[in-house]
């Protein structure tokens, strides 16, 4: 009896140990389908937004049909995407295609994490004149490599509430890329007339969208904007640049025509305020359009170019994807990216109404289709008026230093110049990577 009991206990323990070991091995080892490749005839794809139900899903399905490849879309992660991306690359099992924050492209390229697509471009003799030039060249590195792939871009324009303009008797902004009657002075004058403190209604909102840093400084005559062309110097503390940022800050601190910084700290609050008629003009990206289309039913809204000063340019956010160097199916990944940037792929992506496809022929089809904004075509025309941000080895690191520091200027506690001069050495240390 004792012997039987001992035997069963041994067997039990042996089984338990075996199961534990097997579990740990399975956990540590991973497997192909979960972590990396999508098999011989397929590839894996990771985006930080939900793909299902979006035009991107349709475009991927169209690619699958055309190529016979299978694309496995991995679950979307909106929070901590950058952390997941770094972990996947560091762990050596990244997806074949993944979205990448444009601020990371230079740094990741220098660290050798991204596959150079130049050999594929050359091999396929791809006609690059079909793409919007400034954004197509965004991922081009100093050594000539092309380490990421832009599918589209989201230019920034002024979104405005047509009804509020009409009620205040203010002339509407231009409907073309023109600064006639649409200079910084005109913009500020209009903002004053559109502000009504009793209703907590503000005429303008410029400084919340961080793309204003590059746009407004370049438009004020800055040669470089935020960083020097080689990405080694922080040029935002220059005289022209400080003047531009102080002008935008003074819309709150002096003119009182812009919401105070303190009320803008909640997520998406600016879009909600605009949709509630509490902001008359807002500097924002193309990506705002889908939200406003769904939220604004009661009044008319439209878009206009940014007001002109020395220049009249705007900055785009770019929709960038990459093929990690350790991707298991780089050829299939390239085929997918090539398709998504083609005229066919671009036309499908255009239906999302959130960004301009990089393919010029596809972008030309951008039209209101009976929906606001009436002058949506200005987003496509923005391709001719782009100011390109300079890539650096550590753009995120630099931004995490100077942007929080600027809070004290936006709070009207300190002048912009003082803040930027004080933070400059730290930012330039960060730019070294």
């Amino acid at each position: 009896m004792t012997q039987l009991s001992d035997l069963s206990r041994r067997r039990f323990l042996a089984g338990l140990t075996g199961m534990t070991a097997a579990g740990l091995l399975a956990g540590c080892g991973g497997n192909g389908s979960a972590s990396g490749g999508g098999g011989k005839n397929g590839l894996t794809f990771l985006n930080w937004e939900q793909v299902k139900g979006n035009p991107l899903e349709q475009a991927i399905q169209a690619f699958e049909k055309e190529s016979g490849s299978q694309v496995t879309v991995q679950p979307a992660v909106t929070q901590e995407y950058d952390t997941k991306m770094r972990t996947l690359i560091a762990g050596g099992s990244p997806p074949d295609v993944m979205r990448i924050n444009d601020d990371f492209v230079r740094g990741f390229s220098e660290q050798g994490a991204l596959l150079d697509l130049r050999p594929y471009l050359d091999k396929d003799k791809l006609d690059t004149s079909q793409f919007a030039k400034e954004t197509f060249e965004f991922p081009k590195q100093p050594d000539g490599s092309h380490t990421a792939w832009v599918l589209g871009y989201q230019p920034r324009l002024i979104f405005y509430n047509v009804d509020l303009f009409k009620q205040a008797g203010v002339p509407l902004p231009p409907t073309t890329w023109s600064s006639d009657g649409w200079t910084w002075a005109d913009f500020q004058a209009a903002a004053k007339k559109l502000t009504d403190p009793a209703k907590k209604q503000y005429g303008a909102l410029v400084y919340l969208d961080t793309g204003y840093e590059q746009t407004f400084t370049v438009n004020h005559g800055s040669q470089t904007g935020i960083f020097s062309p080689d990405g080694t110097q922080f040029t935002l503390p220059g005289a022209k640049e400080v003047e531009a940022l102080q002008w935008a800050t003074d819309l709150t601190c002096k003119e009182k025509v812009q919401p105070p910084w303190s009320v803008l700290q909640q997520d998406n609050v600016q879009n909600q305020m605009f949709a509630q008629g509490k902001i008359a003009m807002m500097f924002a990206t193309f990506g705002t359009v889908p939200y406003l289309r769904s939220a604004m039913k009661d009044f008319t809204w439209d878009v206009a170019p940014p007001p002109g000063d020395v220049e009249q340019k705007t900055e785009s956010s770019v929709i960038v994807f990459c093929v990690p160097k350790k991707a298991k199916n780089p050829d299939a990944a390239w085929s997918l990216l090539k398709y998504l940037a083609s005229e066919d792929g671009g036309k499908i992506l255009l239906q999302g109404g959130a960004f301009t496809p990089i393919n010029l022929k596809a972008a030309a089809a951008l039209a209101p289709d009976g929906k606001a904004p009436e002058h949506i075509g200005l987003f496509a025309e923005a391709a001719k008026h782009l100011t390109a941000t300079n890539q650096t080895k550590n753009t995120i690191g630099a931004r995490e230093l100077y942007r929080p520091a600027l809070d004290t200027a936006y709070n009207c506690e300190k002048p912009v110049g003082d803040v930027l001069q004080q933070i400059k050495p730290q930012v330039e240390t960060a730019l070294k990577g």
């Binding site: 950058d82 770094r86 690359i89 660290q111 303190s262 700290q265 995490e400 730290q426 240390t429």
Partner: protein, 310 residues
């Protein structure tokens, strides 16, 4: 002679059996705890070891790490002004929140120790925030502290006071976070001290009463000295947890405005996951470990001077 030999042999056999049984027992024990041991080694000791090695490299999480010796440790003091600023912010947070949390916790414990009606409800109510998700708490209080349409400033306006900008002001953001932290944390010291109060010997209080000691004197000379072991425990645990504050900061202020609420752990997080400076972040973690270990050791050593054991 033969009998003696047999007895010796039997004895040898018995000892060997006992040894075998002990070995089997030990093996059984080890096999039962092996899943936990493997887990601790794989997911705690191994990462600790890796972070120790990483702290001596320039590892960015992507490219191969390069050995840099103690450079990460020296550059904290020479190249990174945020290191000292976030350290100062953490000390400020700790020094402000610990006395408040333990002090208010003591008052609540004294009140909740009294045999009054509904005391169970109050004990639960005060303890509830402690077990509530920090993200939910952060979001709710972030709304309460809104300068223009927040509840706090709304209430202050009712009594004719113009409230500050709270989380949007570089001088008020940290006090706002401290207030929330204290509100969330008082349940823990309250429960610990309540348990301590209920275990105090009654005869001391009765003797005190007979000797003419009033309520304040009994609190001052009997209750508080007897609670000193609990205070020591709270000081040590609260110091360790407040020095590692992260969740509230991340949700309420993201370290702003202007790095006014950026604390040490938040700085580590940003270095590791925003800037990809894994080696540097590991070095910062080890500095934090040393600081916490040193202060805890000091607290333990100094207890002889003020902790009273019955």
């Amino acid at each position: 002679m033969a009998t003696i030999t047999m007895a010796r042999d039997r004895g040898t056999v018995q000892v060997a059996d006992v040894r075998r049984a002990r070995r089997r027992q030990n093996l059984t024990g080890w096999l039962f705890i092996s899943p936990i041991v493997i887990g601790v080694v794989a997911f705690q000791f191994f990462p600790i070891l890796v972070s120790m090695v990483a702290s001596l490299t320039d590892w960015n999480g992507i490219a191969a790490p390069k050995f840099v010796g103690l450079r990460n440790f020296t550059s904290m003091f020479t190249d990174d002004p945020l290191f000292l600023q976030t350290f100062r912010n953490t000390v400020y947070f700790t020094l402000a929140s610990i006395p408040l949390t333990i002090g208010i916790g003591l008052v609540l414990a004294l009140l909740c120790a009294r045999p009054i009606r509904g005391v169970a409800f109050f004990r639960t109510a005060y303890f509830a925030p402690y077990v509530t998700n920090v993200v939910a708490i952060g979001f709710v209080w972030f709304w309460f502290f809104q300068p223009d349409n927040g509840v706090i400033n709304g209430l202050l306006q009712q009594v004719g006071i113009g409230g500050p900008q709270w989380v949007s002001s570089s001088s008020w953001a940290m006090p706002a976070v401290i207030m929330v932290s204290v509100w969330q944390g008082i349940g823990y010291p309250m429960i610990i001290l309540l348990a301590g109060l209920q275990g105090l010997p009654n005869e001391l209080f009765e003797s005190g009463k007979l000797d003419g000691a009033g309520a304040w004197q009994r609190l001052r000379f009997i209750t508080l000295p007897l609670l000193t072991p609990h205070f020591l425990f709270l000081l040590i645990t609260q110091f360790i947890s407040t020095f590692q504050v992260f969740g509230l900061i991340y949700v309420m202020t993201k370290g702003g405005p202007g790095h006014a609420t950026s604390v040490y752990i938040y700085n580590i997080y940003q270095n590791a996951f925003s800037y990809g400076k894994v080696g540097y972040a590991s070095a910062m973690s080890w500095v934090l470990f040393v600081v916490i270990a040193a202060v805890t050791y000091l607290q333990w050593k100094l207890q002889k001077r003020w902790v009273f054991y019955t």
